[in-house]
Symmetry: C2
Protein backbone atom coordinates (compact mmCIF):
# COMPACT_ATOMS: atom_id res chain seq x y z
CA UNK A 1 0.00 0.00 0.00
CA UNK A 2 1.76 3.18 -1.15
CA UNK A 3 0.93 6.24 0.90
CA UNK A 4 2.01 9.34 -0.97
CA UNK A 5 1.93 12.68 0.84
CA UNK A 6 -1.54 14.13 0.38
CA UNK A 7 -2.94 17.52 1.36
CA UNK A 8 -4.20 17.96 4.89
CA UNK A 9 -7.96 17.35 4.94
CA UNK A 10 -10.03 20.42 5.92
CA UNK A 11 -11.28 18.65 9.08
CA UNK A 12 -7.72 18.05 10.31
CA UNK A 13 -7.12 21.56 11.74
CA UNK A 14 -10.62 21.42 13.26
CA UNK A 15 -9.82 18.13 15.02
CA UNK A 16 -6.41 19.43 16.08
CA UNK A 17 -8.11 22.44 17.70
CA UNK A 18 -10.61 20.22 19.51
CA UNK A 19 -7.87 17.94 20.82
CA UNK A 20 -5.94 20.98 22.00
CA UNK A 21 -8.92 22.48 23.82
CA UNK A 22 -9.67 19.12 25.48
CA UNK A 23 -6.04 18.31 26.31
CA UNK A 24 -6.55 18.64 30.09
CA UNK A 25 -8.37 15.28 30.19
CA UNK A 26 -6.43 12.16 29.14
CA UNK A 27 -9.62 10.41 27.99
CA UNK A 28 -10.07 12.95 25.19
CA UNK A 29 -8.01 10.45 23.14
CA UNK A 30 -10.55 7.69 23.82
CA UNK A 31 -13.20 7.14 21.16
CA UNK A 32 -15.66 4.45 20.10
CA UNK A 33 -15.11 2.27 17.03
CA UNK A 34 -18.11 0.64 15.34
CA UNK A 35 -17.53 -2.35 13.10
CA UNK A 36 -19.79 -5.03 11.64
CA UNK A 37 -19.74 -8.62 12.94
CA UNK A 38 -19.66 -11.57 10.51
CA UNK A 39 -23.39 -12.12 11.25
CA UNK A 40 -24.19 -8.55 10.13
CA UNK A 41 -24.74 -7.10 13.61
CA UNK A 42 -22.82 -4.04 14.75
CA UNK A 43 -20.06 -4.08 17.36
CA UNK A 44 -18.77 -1.09 19.33
CA UNK A 45 -15.88 -0.56 21.75
CA UNK A 46 -13.60 2.11 23.13
CA UNK A 47 -10.16 2.50 21.55
CA UNK A 48 -7.29 4.97 21.96
CA UNK A 49 -6.25 7.47 19.28
CA UNK A 50 -2.50 7.16 18.56
CA UNK A 51 -2.04 10.10 16.18
CA UNK A 52 -1.98 10.28 12.38
CA UNK A 53 0.00 8.23 9.91
CA UNK A 54 2.60 10.63 8.55
CA UNK A 55 1.69 12.43 5.30
CA UNK A 56 -1.83 10.99 5.29
CA UNK A 57 -5.20 11.67 6.90
CA UNK A 58 -5.32 8.19 8.41
CA UNK A 59 -5.86 7.74 12.13
CA UNK A 60 -3.67 5.26 13.98
CA UNK A 61 -4.83 2.81 16.64
CA UNK A 62 -3.40 -0.43 17.97
CA UNK A 63 -5.12 -3.73 18.63
CA UNK A 64 -4.56 -7.39 19.40
CA UNK A 65 -4.84 -9.88 16.52
CA UNK A 66 -6.66 -12.19 18.98
CA UNK A 67 -9.46 -9.63 19.61
CA UNK A 68 -12.91 -9.97 18.04
CA UNK A 69 -12.49 -6.71 16.18
CA UNK A 70 -9.53 -8.12 14.23
CA UNK A 71 -11.78 -10.94 12.96
CA UNK A 72 -14.55 -8.47 12.16
CA UNK A 73 -12.25 -6.17 10.21
CA UNK A 74 -10.88 -9.13 8.24
CA UNK A 75 -14.44 -9.75 6.98
CA UNK A 76 -15.71 -6.15 6.69
CA UNK A 77 -13.01 -3.50 6.54
CA UNK A 78 -15.31 -0.56 7.18
CA UNK A 79 -15.49 1.36 10.42
CA UNK A 80 -16.96 4.47 11.97
CA UNK A 81 -15.48 6.10 15.03
CA UNK A 82 -17.51 8.40 17.26
CA UNK A 83 -15.59 10.80 19.42
CA UNK A 84 -17.30 12.80 22.11
CA UNK A 85 -15.33 15.61 23.72
CA UNK A 86 -16.68 16.33 27.18
CA UNK A 87 -14.87 19.63 27.80
CA UNK A 88 -16.04 21.45 24.68
CA UNK A 89 -19.22 19.40 24.08
CA UNK A 90 -18.37 18.44 20.52
CA UNK A 91 -18.75 15.24 18.55
CA UNK A 92 -16.67 14.03 15.61
CA UNK A 93 -17.78 11.02 13.61
CA UNK A 94 -15.33 9.61 11.07
CA UNK A 95 -16.23 6.79 8.71
CA UNK A 96 -13.88 5.04 6.34
CA UNK A 97 -11.85 2.03 5.42
CA UNK A 98 -9.88 0.14 8.05
CA UNK A 99 -6.48 -1.46 7.44
CA UNK A 100 -5.10 -3.93 9.91
CA UNK A 101 -1.28 -4.13 9.84
CA UNK A 102 -0.48 -7.40 11.55
CA UNK A 103 2.78 -9.33 11.71
CA UNK A 104 2.41 -10.75 8.20
CA UNK A 105 1.35 -7.51 6.42
CA UNK A 106 3.56 -7.25 3.32
CA UNK A 107 4.26 -3.46 3.19
CA UNK A 108 7.65 -2.84 4.81
CA UNK A 109 7.01 0.87 5.37
CA UNK A 110 3.84 0.09 7.30
CA UNK A 111 5.66 -2.65 9.19
CA UNK A 112 8.06 0.05 10.30
CA UNK A 113 5.15 2.17 11.51
CA UNK A 114 3.76 -0.87 13.33
CA UNK A 115 7.13 -1.27 15.05
CA UNK A 116 7.29 2.40 15.99
CA UNK A 117 3.77 2.22 17.41
CA UNK A 118 4.90 -0.65 19.61
CA UNK A 119 7.91 1.34 20.79
CA UNK A 120 5.72 4.33 21.67
CA UNK A 121 3.55 2.27 24.07
CA UNK A 122 4.17 2.20 27.82
CA UNK A 123 5.51 -0.97 29.43
CA UNK A 124 2.08 -1.53 30.95
CA UNK A 125 0.37 -1.27 27.55
CA UNK A 126 2.91 -3.59 25.93
CA UNK A 127 2.46 -6.14 28.72
CA UNK A 128 -1.22 -6.53 27.83
CA UNK A 129 -0.17 -8.17 24.58
CA UNK A 130 1.58 -10.84 26.66
CA UNK A 131 -1.61 -11.53 28.64
CA UNK A 132 -3.72 -14.65 28.01
CA UNK A 133 -6.15 -14.72 25.07
CA UNK A 134 -8.65 -11.84 25.42
CA UNK A 135 -12.30 -12.90 25.74
CA UNK A 136 -11.52 -16.50 26.76
CA UNK A 137 -12.47 -17.87 30.18
CA UNK A 138 -10.57 -16.02 32.87
CA UNK A 139 -7.03 -17.35 33.41
CA UNK A 140 -5.28 -17.68 36.76
CA UNK A 141 -4.05 -14.34 38.11
CA UNK A 142 -0.45 -15.53 37.77
CA UNK A 143 -0.90 -15.67 33.97
CA UNK A 144 -1.14 -11.87 33.99
CA UNK A 145 2.11 -11.46 35.88
CA UNK A 146 4.39 -11.08 32.89
CA UNK A 147 7.80 -9.48 32.50
CA UNK A 148 7.54 -6.36 30.29
CA UNK A 149 8.03 -7.53 26.68
CA UNK A 150 10.95 -6.31 24.59
CA UNK A 151 10.38 -2.60 23.96
CA UNK A 152 11.81 -2.66 20.42
CA UNK A 153 10.33 -5.73 18.72
CA UNK A 154 6.49 -6.10 18.76
CA UNK A 155 4.93 -9.31 20.01
CA UNK A 156 3.48 -11.35 17.14
CA UNK A 157 -0.21 -10.50 17.73
CA UNK A 158 0.36 -6.76 18.09
CA UNK A 159 -1.35 -4.94 15.20
CA UNK A 160 -1.48 -1.39 13.96
CA UNK A 161 -4.97 -0.32 12.87
CA UNK A 162 -5.53 2.51 10.37
CA UNK A 163 -8.75 4.37 9.59
CA UNK A 164 -8.86 6.30 6.33
CA UNK A 165 -11.91 8.59 6.68
CA UNK A 166 -14.07 9.53 3.70
CA UNK A 167 -16.98 10.96 5.71
CA UNK A 168 -16.57 13.25 8.70
CA UNK A 169 -19.42 14.76 10.71
CA UNK A 170 -18.61 17.50 13.23
CA UNK A 171 -21.30 18.58 15.70
CA UNK A 172 -20.93 21.40 18.20
CA UNK A 173 -23.53 21.12 20.95
CA UNK A 174 -22.59 24.55 22.32
CA UNK A 175 -24.14 27.33 20.31
CA UNK A 176 -27.77 28.10 19.73
CA UNK A 177 -28.61 26.60 17.34
CA UNK A 178 -25.93 23.92 17.33
CA UNK A 179 -23.47 23.80 14.43
CA UNK A 180 -22.95 20.75 12.27
CA UNK A 181 -20.51 20.37 9.38
CA UNK A 182 -20.14 17.44 6.97
CA UNK A 183 -16.93 16.65 5.11
CA UNK A 184 -16.98 14.19 2.22
CA UNK A 185 -14.14 12.76 0.17
CA UNK A 186 -15.51 12.84 -3.39
CA UNK A 187 -13.53 12.56 -6.62
CA UNK A 188 -10.16 13.04 -4.92
CA UNK A 189 -11.19 16.11 -3.03
CA UNK A 190 -12.97 17.10 0.17
CA UNK A 191 -16.36 18.81 0.10
CA UNK A 192 -17.48 20.83 3.13
CA UNK A 193 -21.15 21.46 3.87
CA UNK A 194 -22.96 23.14 6.76
CA UNK A 195 -26.06 21.09 7.61
CA UNK A 196 -28.85 21.19 10.16
CA UNK A 197 -27.94 19.65 13.52
CA UNK B 1 -45.47 -5.95 22.01
CA UNK B 2 -46.33 -7.29 25.46
CA UNK B 3 -43.73 -6.54 28.08
CA UNK B 4 -44.31 -8.69 31.12
CA UNK B 5 -42.39 -7.97 34.29
CA UNK B 6 -39.14 -9.92 34.10
CA UNK B 7 -36.41 -10.44 36.68
CA UNK B 8 -33.74 -7.79 36.94
CA UNK B 9 -30.76 -8.86 34.81
CA UNK B 10 -27.57 -9.51 36.83
CA UNK B 11 -25.79 -6.62 35.05
CA UNK B 12 -28.47 -4.12 36.16
CA UNK B 13 -27.18 -3.57 39.74
CA UNK B 14 -23.65 -3.36 38.29
CA UNK B 15 -24.71 -0.63 35.87
CA UNK B 16 -26.69 1.15 38.60
CA UNK B 17 -23.54 1.21 40.75
CA UNK B 18 -21.45 2.59 37.91
CA UNK B 19 -23.99 5.32 37.16
CA UNK B 20 -24.06 6.22 40.83
CA UNK B 21 -20.28 6.43 41.13
CA UNK B 22 -20.10 8.57 37.98
CA UNK B 23 -23.07 10.77 38.87
CA UNK B 24 -20.96 13.92 39.36
CA UNK B 25 -20.53 14.31 35.59
CA UNK B 26 -23.65 14.86 33.48
CA UNK B 27 -22.07 13.21 30.43
CA UNK B 28 -22.00 9.84 32.21
CA UNK B 29 -25.44 9.38 30.61
CA UNK B 30 -23.98 9.86 27.12
CA UNK B 31 -23.03 6.71 25.23
CA UNK B 32 -22.35 5.66 21.64
CA UNK B 33 -24.83 3.66 19.57
CA UNK B 34 -23.57 1.56 16.66
CA UNK B 35 -26.02 0.53 13.95
CA UNK B 36 -25.64 -0.82 10.43
CA UNK B 37 -26.35 1.32 7.35
CA UNK B 38 -28.44 -0.05 4.48
CA UNK B 39 -25.17 -0.51 2.50
CA UNK B 40 -23.76 -2.74 5.27
CA UNK B 41 -21.35 -0.19 6.70
CA UNK B 42 -21.44 0.67 10.40
CA UNK B 43 -22.68 3.99 11.81
CA UNK B 44 -21.92 5.38 15.26
CA UNK B 45 -23.17 8.39 17.23
CA UNK B 46 -23.60 9.71 20.75
CA UNK B 47 -27.03 9.35 22.35
CA UNK B 48 -28.42 10.03 25.84
CA UNK B 49 -29.57 7.29 28.21
CA UNK B 50 -33.12 7.99 29.43
CA UNK B 51 -33.51 5.22 32.01
CA UNK B 52 -35.09 1.77 31.78
CA UNK B 53 -38.49 0.77 30.49
CA UNK B 54 -40.43 -0.21 33.60
CA UNK B 55 -40.41 -3.94 34.49
CA UNK B 56 -37.95 -4.75 31.70
CA UNK B 57 -34.20 -4.63 31.09
CA UNK B 58 -34.67 -2.37 28.04
CA UNK B 59 -32.78 0.92 27.84
CA UNK B 60 -34.70 4.00 26.73
CA UNK B 61 -33.45 6.66 24.32
CA UNK B 62 -35.21 9.22 22.15
CA UNK B 63 -34.61 10.11 18.53
CA UNK B 64 -36.01 11.97 15.56
CA UNK B 65 -37.81 9.95 12.88
CA UNK B 66 -36.05 12.17 10.32
CA UNK B 67 -32.56 11.09 11.49
CA UNK B 68 -30.42 8.59 9.56
CA UNK B 69 -30.44 6.17 12.49
CA UNK B 70 -34.23 5.81 12.24
CA UNK B 71 -33.82 4.67 8.60
CA UNK B 72 -31.00 2.34 9.57
CA UNK B 73 -32.97 0.74 12.40
CA UNK B 74 -35.96 0.23 10.10
CA UNK B 75 -33.70 -1.94 7.92
CA UNK B 76 -31.53 -3.62 10.59
CA UNK B 77 -32.95 -3.54 14.10
CA UNK B 78 -29.76 -4.53 15.86
CA UNK B 79 -27.59 -2.17 17.86
CA UNK B 80 -24.65 -2.12 20.22
CA UNK B 81 -24.04 0.69 22.65
CA UNK B 82 -20.63 1.40 24.10
CA UNK B 83 -20.51 3.35 27.31
CA UNK B 84 -17.26 4.65 28.71
CA UNK B 85 -17.29 6.03 32.24
CA UNK B 86 -14.47 8.50 32.69
CA UNK B 87 -14.59 8.78 36.49
CA UNK B 88 -14.31 5.07 37.31
CA UNK B 89 -12.58 4.00 34.06
CA UNK B 90 -15.12 1.34 33.16
CA UNK B 91 -16.72 0.29 29.90
CA UNK B 92 -20.11 -1.33 29.37
CA UNK B 93 -21.04 -2.70 25.95
CA UNK B 94 -24.65 -3.77 25.45
CA UNK B 95 -25.83 -5.44 22.26
CA UNK B 96 -29.40 -6.29 21.42
CA UNK B 97 -32.53 -5.62 19.43
CA UNK B 98 -33.72 -2.08 18.87
CA UNK B 99 -37.37 -1.06 18.77
CA UNK B 100 -38.35 2.31 17.40
CA UNK B 101 -41.64 3.59 18.83
CA UNK B 102 -42.73 6.29 16.42
CA UNK B 103 -46.06 8.05 16.05
CA UNK B 104 -47.71 5.14 14.25
CA UNK B 105 -46.45 2.31 16.50
CA UNK B 106 -49.53 0.18 17.33
CA UNK B 107 -48.88 -0.69 21.02
CA UNK B 108 -50.84 1.75 23.19
CA UNK B 109 -48.79 1.06 26.33
CA UNK B 110 -45.57 1.92 24.51
CA UNK B 111 -47.26 4.97 23.00
CA UNK B 112 -47.90 6.06 26.56
CA UNK B 113 -44.21 5.59 27.39
CA UNK B 114 -43.33 7.59 24.25
CA UNK B 115 -45.58 10.38 25.50
CA UNK B 116 -44.06 10.30 28.99
CA UNK B 117 -40.56 10.42 27.50
CA UNK B 118 -41.57 13.57 25.63
CA UNK B 119 -42.93 15.13 28.81
CA UNK B 120 -39.69 14.37 30.68
CA UNK B 121 -37.57 16.34 28.18
CA UNK B 122 -36.54 19.94 28.79
CA UNK B 123 -38.08 22.71 26.68
CA UNK B 124 -34.73 23.05 24.90
CA UNK B 125 -34.63 19.34 24.04
CA UNK B 126 -38.25 19.37 22.83
CA UNK B 127 -37.57 22.42 20.66
CA UNK B 128 -34.98 20.47 18.67
CA UNK B 129 -37.79 18.34 17.26
CA UNK B 130 -39.29 21.53 15.83
CA UNK B 131 -36.03 22.41 14.09
CA UNK B 132 -35.56 21.96 10.33
CA UNK B 133 -34.78 18.51 8.89
CA UNK B 134 -31.54 17.20 10.48
CA UNK B 135 -28.69 16.54 8.04
CA UNK B 136 -30.16 18.69 5.25
CA UNK B 137 -28.38 21.81 3.99
CA UNK B 138 -28.24 24.38 6.76
CA UNK B 139 -31.43 26.42 7.10
CA UNK B 140 -31.62 30.11 7.92
CA UNK B 141 -30.94 30.87 11.59
CA UNK B 142 -34.53 32.09 11.99
CA UNK B 143 -35.79 28.56 11.24
CA UNK B 144 -34.28 27.48 14.56
CA UNK B 145 -36.09 30.18 16.52
CA UNK B 146 -39.13 28.17 17.48
CA UNK B 147 -41.61 28.52 20.31
CA UNK B 148 -41.26 25.61 22.76
CA UNK B 149 -43.58 22.85 21.52
CA UNK B 150 -46.51 21.64 23.61
CA UNK B 151 -45.02 19.87 26.66
CA UNK B 152 -47.72 17.20 26.81
CA UNK B 153 -48.24 15.97 23.24
CA UNK B 154 -45.13 14.81 21.29
CA UNK B 155 -44.39 16.27 17.87
CA UNK B 156 -45.05 13.72 15.12
CA UNK B 157 -41.44 12.78 14.41
CA UNK B 158 -40.49 12.31 18.05
CA UNK B 159 -39.64 8.62 18.66
CA UNK B 160 -38.83 6.51 21.66
CA UNK B 161 -36.00 4.05 21.04
CA UNK B 162 -35.60 0.85 23.07
CA UNK B 163 -32.59 -1.44 23.30
CA UNK B 164 -33.20 -4.96 24.66
CA UNK B 165 -29.71 -6.30 25.47
CA UNK B 166 -28.83 -9.97 25.09
CA UNK B 167 -25.04 -9.51 25.37
CA UNK B 168 -23.35 -7.30 27.93
CA UNK B 169 -19.59 -6.87 28.32
CA UNK B 170 -18.28 -5.05 31.40
CA UNK B 171 -14.61 -4.04 31.52
CA UNK B 172 -12.92 -2.41 34.50
CA UNK B 173 -9.68 -0.74 33.46
CA UNK B 174 -8.72 -0.13 37.07
CA UNK B 175 -7.31 -3.20 38.73
CA UNK B 176 -4.24 -5.17 37.84
CA UNK B 177 -5.06 -7.20 35.88
CA UNK B 178 -8.23 -5.58 34.57
CA UNK B 179 -11.55 -7.32 35.19
CA UNK B 180 -13.93 -8.28 32.41
CA UNK B 181 -17.34 -9.96 32.77
CA UNK B 182 -19.65 -11.20 30.02
CA UNK B 183 -23.40 -11.57 30.46
CA UNK B 184 -25.40 -13.54 27.90
CA UNK B 185 -29.14 -14.02 27.59
CA UNK B 186 -29.46 -17.72 26.68
CA UNK B 187 -32.58 -19.89 26.90
CA UNK B 188 -34.52 -17.36 28.94
CA UNK B 189 -31.82 -16.82 31.49
CA UNK B 190 -28.64 -14.81 31.96
CA UNK B 191 -25.24 -16.48 32.08
CA UNK B 192 -22.34 -14.67 33.77
CA UNK B 193 -18.73 -15.41 32.88
CA UNK B 194 -15.42 -13.88 33.97
CA UNK B 195 -13.17 -13.60 30.90
CA UNK B 196 -9.71 -12.30 30.11
CA UNK B 197 -9.59 -8.55 29.46
Amino acid sequence: MPHHPIPLAPWRPVLAGILHRNRSVPYSRYLQLATVRPDGRPANRTIVFRGFLENTNQLKFVTDARSEKADQIAQCDWGEVCWYFTQTREQMRLGGQLTLICENYPDSQLQQVRQMSWQELSDAARSQFAWPHPGKARSETTAFTVAPPDAMQPLSHFCLLLLDPIEVDHLELRGDPQNRTLYHWVKNDWTVEAVNP
